[in-house]
């Protein structure tokens, strides 16, 4: 049974500095892994390798057993990064149909309209993103990231700097995805919303995998518990 997302002895160097060291990690389909760690521990680097933005220096990363950079694999992965990755000069509807076409979504227009409805932007479908407020842009980014119904969702600190409406939308989207046995990997700073969803937790310290296992109850109640026991305090 292939893992949904797997890293096999992954190293990543910036010049001679090993940003990631010997990362061995497997995420089962239908589970949600929370990537924890201080700034610079390598969370974003690992997530970018999973997403196919960059290649592993040594070792390999696979999604459903296939290389992360493979075209078919990328069609099944949804990514929500720090940047909202939508075009200011295009309207909300044009942005979604553009990404719909790139991801080969069957009925682009209907799917785009459904998602605009779902994130509450149906009334501004032809408004240029340039005029959108921060909250509207974030919700459009959520729609763009999950428009093509991905089986694997990769989120980089998803809940930070979202307004309450966007958080509500994102939580429903993620709960739906888990209900449909999708796999989620999200990097987070111990935020409660992220930890509630997590079924497993992985702690990165200075590029090494310090802990990987089930997310227990006390991790949720006491955010510092995991750092104290495994990561350097």
């Amino acid at each position: 049974m292939t893992h949904a997302v797997a890293a096999d002895d992954v190293w990543k160097y910036y010049g001679d500095y090993p940003a990631l060291r010997e990362i061995r990690l497997a995420v089962e389909p239908g589970s949600c892994l929370a990537l924890l760690g201080r700034n610079g521990a390598g969370k974003t680097t690992l997530l970018r390798i999973f997403a196919g933005f960059s290649k592993a220096g040594k070792g390999s990363v696979s999604i459903f057993g296939r290389d992360a950079r493979d075209l078919e694999t990328r069609r099944r992965v949804g990514i929500l990064g720090h940047g909202i990755s939508v075009y200011d000069e295009l309207s909300a509807f044009e942005n979604l149909t553009l990404f719909g076409r790139l991801y080969g979504v069957a009925d682009r227009r209907k799917t785009a309209l459904d998602w605009l409805e779902r994130v509450g932007l149906r009334h501004v479908r032809d408004g240029l993103v340039r005029e959108f407020s921060r909250g509207m842009r974030q919700r459009l980014a959520i729609a763009r990231a999950f428009l093509h119904d991905p089986q694997v969702l990769l989120l980089d600190e998803p809940f930070t700097a979202l307004d309450d409406r966007a958080i509500a939308v994102l939580q429903t989207v993620l709960r739906d995805a888990l209900a449909r046995q999708c796999t989620i990997v999200l990097s987070t700073h111990q935020l409660r919303e992220a930890m509630e969803l997590a079924t497993h937790v992985a702690l990165l310290a200075r590029g090494r995998l310090a802990y990987h296992g089930e997310r227990s109850a006390e991790m949720l109640s006491d955010p510092g518990w995991l750092y104290a026991r495994y990561g350097e305090s």
């Binding site: 933005f53 078919e72 940047g83 990755s85 295009l90 553009l98 076409r101």
Partner: protein, 224 residues
């Protein structure tokens, strides 16, 4: 089949975004018209016709650079470049789409510059019209491929605005030389003779080599 539809999607997106914001196209148009006008002060009336080929391609190269430099830099606000790299389209489709959009924009600038040049210097540039059009397209594609590729190469660099001209123009020299020689000859109204055919084959060779090289390297360059 999907490859070409994705390429045209990227090209259409780039054109629509550019025509809406007009950030590069305005600069390019006004730059080329200004320089064409200034040339009339720089050179005596009769001399301009002989060096027309050189003048026009210098204007196209610099006016074009304004558009080409923006090509990948346009993806930086909101981190759209990451979304395109993660999307299931080959990097070559992304590159080709952007190159096509740039080509059309540059041809638009040239389509305006040629008649304006004809008016300013009453040069009968329509003598060998179709051959001239072919040379214009081949020449423009040559430096569009290089400009777009180097825009991708330097997109993440802090010193991008400084680095790009430094890198792009030396590589472009052979293409510009060939285009200048051919345009100069054609503006005189005569068809291409054997000597000029050498330059034409050289220009086509240049386009083929650099297009192939760019398509092969763009994936390695974009995915760090």
């Amino acid at each position: 089949m999907a490859f070409w539809s994705q390429t045209f999607t990227i090209a259409a997106k780039d054109l629509r975004a550019e025509l809406r914001s007009k950030e590069a196209i305005n600069a390019s148009f006004s730059f080329s018209l200004t320089i064409l006008l200034l040339f009339s002060f720089a050179f005596v009336e009769e001399a301009t016709i002989d060096i027309a080929g050189g003048l026009l391609w210098i204007v196209f190269a610099f006016a074009g650079a304004l558009i080409l430099n923006r090509s990948f830099a346009r993806e930086l606000p909101n981190d759209c470049l990451d979304a395109l790299i993660a999307a299931p389209l080959p990097a070559s489709a992304l590159f080709l789409g952007k190159a096509l959009a740039n080509l059309l924009l540059l041809l638009a600038v040239e389509a305006v510059s040629f008649p304006v040049f004809g008016v300013f210097y009453n040069a009968r540039w329509t003598g060998q019209f179709w051959t001239l059009a072919l040379v214009a397209v081949l020449g423009t594609w040559g430096f569009t491929v290089i400009g777009t590729m180097f825009s991708a190469l330097t997109v993440n660099l802090r010193l991008r605005e400084v680095m790009l001209p430094l890198l792009v123009y030396p590589v472009m020299i052979p293409c510009l030389m060939a285009a200048m020689k051919l345009t100069g000859h054609l503006i005189g109204g005569e068809p291409l003779d054997a000597e000029m055919m050498v330059w034409m084959r050289f220009l086509i060779g240049f386009d083929v080599i650099f297009t192939a090289l760019a398509l092969a390297l763009v994936d390695v360059v974009l995915v760090s």
